[in-house]
């Protein structure tokens, strides 16, 4: 169980703001926690919920011992509602359940808290239903929306929440720890970009799949650059068989995105920021033909492709469209 002391290490600013809101008794009716994966959004929202419900609260610090704290920890507190995506998105029904819940009085107290995980995954319908509750909050409810991408949330929702920006974790720290674990420097750099979690990074590193994925990304770039007419063939014969699952494809697109980022960094001569350190020569060579504008438009096509994958568009079609965009 985390305490505010622990969280201060990870998110000094956000923790301080939340603790102060307790001390001054000015808890907002809705918060939007935004920050990338692994930055402690869940932990802080749980801690905040505990602080709200705990009867033995000392300042902002819940006791972690009492019945309420324990039940929040195990997900059994009847007045805390935790909504997370059911499959690809948060459905209207889930928000309907919330809606009903908020017309009722609480089960144990009149204090209610709802936490919506991956709030950006709400369907438009669901988001609009939630909006009504953010507009007319009843006295003792607190909402926490967690998201990795606050811009994917309806403006009307965002403007009604207090925004809490979670700082990204220091990727250099992870990189150093990875090299400490015996990971090669270039891989460490790549892994630290992909995840904020040390054990997850080591797991990826140990997987053969990842090494091959990396090779394929470089090959794709090579093909796009030298033999653009064969790109579609390459996608069908080599790329798709390797990136079978949606999640794998997302990873592959991340790797591809780093390359375009590198191209921009290379152009700006920010050499230390380059992720594919070993591929310097290739970058040098490509920068002759690829302008910065091309790289930027490449990045936006990749982001678009990632979004489409999330929305259940057929993966092969997405990749084909992407290569057509990229080879121009």
């Amino acid at each position: 169980m985390h305490t505010w002391e622990d969280m201060k290490q990870v998110q000094p600013l956000v923790s301080k703001m939340l603790i102060n809101s307790f001390n001054k008794n000015r808890i907002s009716h809705a918060y939007l926690f935004q920050g990338s994966q692994g930055t402690g959004k869940r932990e802080i929202s749980l801690l905040f919920a505990k602080a709200i419900f705990c009867p033995n609260r000392d300042g902002a610090e819940p006791c972690h011992q009492c019945n309420a704290c324990k039940r929040i920890h195990s997900g059994n507190h009847p007045d805390l509602h935790w909504i997370k995506p059911d499959g690809q998105s948060i459905k209207k029904d889930q928000i309907l359940h919330l809606q009903k819940e908020f017309t009722y009085t609480g089960l144990e107290s009149n204090q209610k808290v709802y936490i919506v995980e991956s709030a950006d995954k709400m369907t438009v319908n669901a988001a609009n239903r939630l909006l009504k509750f953010l507009e007319e909050p009843s006295k003792q409810t607190t909402a926490m929306l967690l998201t990795e991408n606050s811009h994917a949330i309806l403006d009307t929702i965002r403007s009604r929440c207090q925004l809490m920006a979670f700082q990204p974790l220091n990727s250099q720290g992870i990189e150093e720890r990875l090299t400490g674990e015996g990971v090669s420097e270039s891989n460490a750099k790549l892994l630290s970009q992909m995840t904020n979690n040390l054990s997850e990074a080591l797991e990826i590193q140990a997987d053969d799949w990842f090494a091959n994925a990396r090779k394929l990304v470089i090959q794709l770039i090579e093909v796009l650059n030298n033999k653009p007419n064969e790109a579609l063939l390459f996608i069908n014969h080599q790329w798709m068989p390797h990136f079978k699952e949606r999640e794998q494809l997302q990873r592959g697109l991340d790797l591809l995105m780093f390359w375009y980022k590198d191209m921009i960094n290379h152009e700006l001569e920010r050499e230390e920021a380059i992720i594919y350190q070993q591929e310097r020569d290739r970058m040098e060579q490509m920068s002759m033909t690829l302008t910065r504008q091309n790289a930027v438009s490449g990045l936006s096509s990749i982001l678009e492709a990632k979004r489409k994958i999330n929305q259940n568009v057929h993966p092969t079609l997405v990749m084909e469209q992407l290569t057509l965009h990229l080879k121009r």
């Binding site: 019945n67 324990k70 039940r71 195990s74 997900g75 059994n76 507190h77 009847p78 509602h81 935790w82 309907l96 359940h97 809606q99 009903k100 908020f102 017309t103 009722y104 009085t105 609480g106 089960l107 144990e108 107290s109 009149n110 009843s138």
Partner: protein, 380 residues
Amino acid sequence: MKFIIQREQLMESVQNVMKAISSRTTIPILTGMKLEAGEQGVKLTGSDSDISIESFIPAEEDGIVYVEQIEPGSIVLQAKYFPDIVRKLPQNTVEIETDDHRNVTIRSGSAEFHLNGQDAEEYPQLPQLHAEDSFELPIDLLKNLIRQTVFAVSTSETRPILTGVNVKIEDGILQFTATDSHRLASRKLPLENQETEISFNHVVIPGKSLTELNKILADSEQTIEISVTDNQILFRTKNLYFLSRLLDGNYPETSRLIPDESKTVVTIDAKELLQSIDRASLLARENRNNVVRLITKGGEQIEINGNSPEVGNVVEEVAAESIEGEELKISFSAKYMMDALKAVGSDQVKVEFTGAMRPFLIRAIDNDQVLQLILPVRTY
């Protein structure tokens, strides 16, 4: 925890509390059933967070021993399996025992079940209600109150507060009110022989909970005790506790809606009117909102007609006891009218109109405890 219990009693209690347990709940612990053993007996609890039902099995009642060898304690058991296990046990007595690791052993005759229990601490704590701010009603009267009002609650979620029944006590008069903004049903009841002077007016009980309560209670002359707290209401019979959460918000002020004077008063046999409207609605049903029309005629007659241009029309004349006041043509929903006539529960009813565009009232002829109000439909 340990006890030996009569299977029949246990089965009955399990069946009662199962009515509150739903498999579709967001809180994992609520898929379970809580068993709590104390010196006095065994208590079972089930809840879907909207309603909670507690059933108590006394250790001894009228000299008959139901529960023996009680060692106090509590546990939460999976409600998916426990009832079936109890039902199919071979002997008439059941022994239930838990160890420190929340393993539950259920023994009956030579059959022995081992179930994994959950920590009872995790179960929601239902409020402790005090007997001081409560009042009593005979069960059949309560069932009547529910039946006469609950049908009028709104089914649409646009105004959530209207999905409940407003309960208030003022000057020793208990009143149930339900409305969906097109019709209103209300029933008053003077509370007699109550020692406590309580009054409240902000309590709104979800219609669903009341319907459920009505199903669970058997018709009987026994009394039921009702207590109210900030967020829950408790109905308590001897061994059964029924708790419901309340609806949050302000119930609209309804007393102003009820007209205090009328222009046309029709006194009529409820059953005859009901049947004739039922007939008229046969054709009107095709019509989008099931509207029938009522026209007063001379000679104590009223005409009911239903018209659906594509299908045909129906006209019927009904003899009224008396018609006083102005002549009138009015249209209204046949369904609402039929619901209201059924709920009044009297042979003769008095229908008070205040013009074709104003709401009208239906009351029993001999008392004004039951009141039904319906808004007419505008037709051309």
